[in-house]
């Protein structure tokens, strides 16, 4: 395969690859090989992957053979995809970024993984993440951080920094992520990519290693809105194995995205700017604020009606989140008990309880310990009502704020993250500073509504990506894809091309990908 073809394949969208595969212009083996070559060339620097799938080419060859035999194949058959390590895979280790699960190969596939296999997509490997998805930078991965392809000295966001870096470094066209408080949308913002947290219950969590069960959602990561929609259509829909899975039928997200890119859906669309998240507040970077304001002007120019909405209880969202999440995590992570799977640290003469405590001490990193202890405190007798109970009430108030806002607006917008990518170590010493990074994304998780992050341009002061967040009412995921694709098209026509094309060339990448 020529360097030109390889470079062209890794920079293609999943939608384009699917069309060329279906037309027989390229083979899945070629497409997969191009991405494996790219991983070999740049992942030593980026470290998006914890594991690369040794069977990827074989799986691709089977798709090619079936296509040659005239077998009817699903739309994304033969298109590679990266999988966040929080998701269980039968044929690859699934560690959730933790030493306590080092080398663990699950006895089952997550439903979303089974669905992408059924769609004949090619799993490329498992992507890096903060341990058990606790973090906003991947600095809490037990296996070392992922580096931002836009600047290798900076964080790629988190927890799903590996999936976001993989798509923005052209190591994969699309990826799977999980979002408990912004772990899909915030990495998308700081890497100039697209990520969607679907409605709570829209995508199965069966086989997703649980962090906080009332907040976790699995969703797509990509470079384009249409690609996210195509992946959403593959993984979404009811799953009897997840008791929180919504049984409703869903419209095609890909059709919604195509409708949005084609038509003039912005005309008359009521776009609500959440006053509490509009970028004026403390902690918002000037360049993020500037790009947000410019985007609102562009939207108004395209016929959208910009309305201000107020969500006064969003102020308490981060506080409520850091009670609910640790409480649920302390319960979910009790399963790492040194008995049934994962690490065991021997304690000579010790009881099973001593072994358990020594194992959890050795196997969990500092952020995980911090949150388990905090959650144990929030749930303890005498404090439950004051902390966990109060946080659950804030959840009700935030849901009411959303309901009131959606009476005035069809979609809500805010910056996806308050700043561009920060440098490694900048927020590690201060857990609270790290937590505040999720101020824009947490409300959607608390209320269960869907949220999308998409590129909003580069901040003038540092030349790094900023992100726009869209939010829609629960079950209205299609509205996000329709509006998101329209806004993407509007911004790209303003910029003269997609933002991802401006990512600097990486060391080791030669002519293969990156800005040329």
């Amino acid at each position: 395969m020529s360097a030109e073809l390889s470079s062209d394949l890794i920079r293609s969208s999943a939608a384009d690859l699917a069309a060329r595969l279906a037309a027989g212009e390229v083979s899945s083996v070629e497409v997969t090989q191009a991405h494996l070559d790219r991983i070999a060339a740049v992942d030593g620097d980026v470290h998006a992957f914890l594991h690369v799938n040794a069977a990827a080419l074989e799986t691709a060859a089977q798709v090619d053979a079936d296509r040659a035999d005239g077998v009817a194949l699903p739309a994304l058959a033969g298109v590679p995809i990266a999988i966040k390590d929080v998701l269980c895979t039968l044929d690859m280790p699934s560690t959730s970024g933790s030493k306590i699960l080092e080398g663990w190969v699950p006895p089952y596939d997550a439903t979303v993984v089974a669905r992408l296999r059924a769609a004949r997509m090619i799993p490329l490997g498992k992507t890096n993440m903060d341990e058990f998805a606790m973090g906003s930078s991947t600095e809490h991965s037990a296996y070392g951080p992922t580096r931002n392809p836009w600047d290798l000295e900076r964080i790629p966001g988190g927890s799903g920094g590996g999936s976001a870096a993989a798509v923005s470094a052209f190591e994969a066209p699309v990826a799977l992520g999980s979002d408990t408080g912004g772990s899909i949308r915030q990495p998308a913002a700081v890497t100039g990519s697209v990520g969607v947290k679907p409605t709570y219950g829209a995508v199965s969590r069966y086989g997703a290693i649980a962090l906080a069960s009332s907040l976790d959602q699995v969703g797509p990561v990509s470079r384009t809105v249409l690609d996210a929609a195509l992946v959403h259509d593959v993984i979404g829909g009811h799953d009897a194995r997840d008791a929180t899975s919504i049984p409703d039928a869903w419209p095609s997200m890909a059709e919604a995205a195509r409708r949005g890119a084609r038509g003039d859906v912005l005309k008359g669309l009521r776009v609500g700017v959440v006053k509490e998240l509009d970028g004026d507040g403390e902690g918002f970077q000037a360049g993020v604020r500037q790009r947000f304001t410019e985007t609102l002007d562009l939207l108004a120019g395209a016929g959208a009606e910009i309305v201000e909405v107020s969500a006064p209880n969003f102020e308490y969202a981060v506080a409520a989140y850091y009670l609910i999440l640790p409480a649920e995590a302390s319960s979910n992570l009790a399963k790492f008990d040194s008995v049934r799977f994962g690490l065991r640290v021997e304690v000579p003469g010790g009881t099973v309880e001593d072994v358990m405590a020594a194992t959890r001490e050795a196997g969990f990193g500092p952020e995980v310990k911090r949150r388990i202890i905090l959650g144990t405190y929030a749930l303890s007798a005498g404090y439950y009502d004051a902390y966990y109970g109060s946080a659950q009430k804030v959840r009700t108030l935030i849901q009411r704020d959303f309901a009131a806002a959606f009476e005035k607006a069809d979609i809500l917008v805010s910056p996806s993250a308050p700043t561009t990518a920060f440098r490694f170590g900048e927020k590690l010493a201060d857990p609270l500073a790290m937590y505040l990074n999720d101020v824009t994304t947490i409300p959607a998780n608390l209320a269960g509504v869907p949220g999308m992050g998409l590129p909003m341009g580069l901040a003038p002061e540092d030349g790094l990506p900023t992100g726009l967040q869209l939010m829609a009412p629960a079950r209205e995921d299609a509205r996000l894809y329709e509006a998101g694709a329209a806004i993407e098209a509007l911004l790209e026509s303003h910029w003269g091309g997609p933002l991802w094309a401006q990512v600097p060339a990486l060391p080791g990448s030669a002519s293969n990908g990156g800005a040329r």
Partner: protein, 99 residues
């Protein structure tokens, strides 16, 4: 100010079955104190008239036909275990001497 003391952190760690070192207990005491003070702001708006929300999108029902599904074999269930005897997980003594 919160009531996070080193003794309380040590007790919480024992409840959570994490054998923290004295240095970790000291660091966590300071960090958790600051975090608890920050998150306690939820009490400002959590008045008695506000109902609690435990799940964002509550579902009821969810019945399925009462038929056997696919389950793990013993071999699969034991495959990731640190120690087993072929049919059961093996652990050290469950009870200590004082029990």
């Amino acid at each position: 100010m919160s009531e996070i003391t080193p003794e309380r952190v040590a007790h919480l760690a024992s409840l959570a079955r994490i054998a923290l070192t004295p240095a970790e207990i000291e660091t966590l005491t300071g960090e958790l104190g600051a975090i608890v003070d920050a998150v306690a702001t939820v009490q400002q708006v959590a008045t008695p008239d506000v109902p609690a929300t435990s799940h964002p999108i509550p579902l009821t029902g969810g019945m399925r036909p009462d038929v056997p599904g696919v389950t793990l074999t013993t071999e699969q269930a034991l495959a990731g275990a640190p120690d087993h005897d072929g049919s059961r997980f093996r652990v050290t003594a469950i009870l200590g001497e004082e029990q």
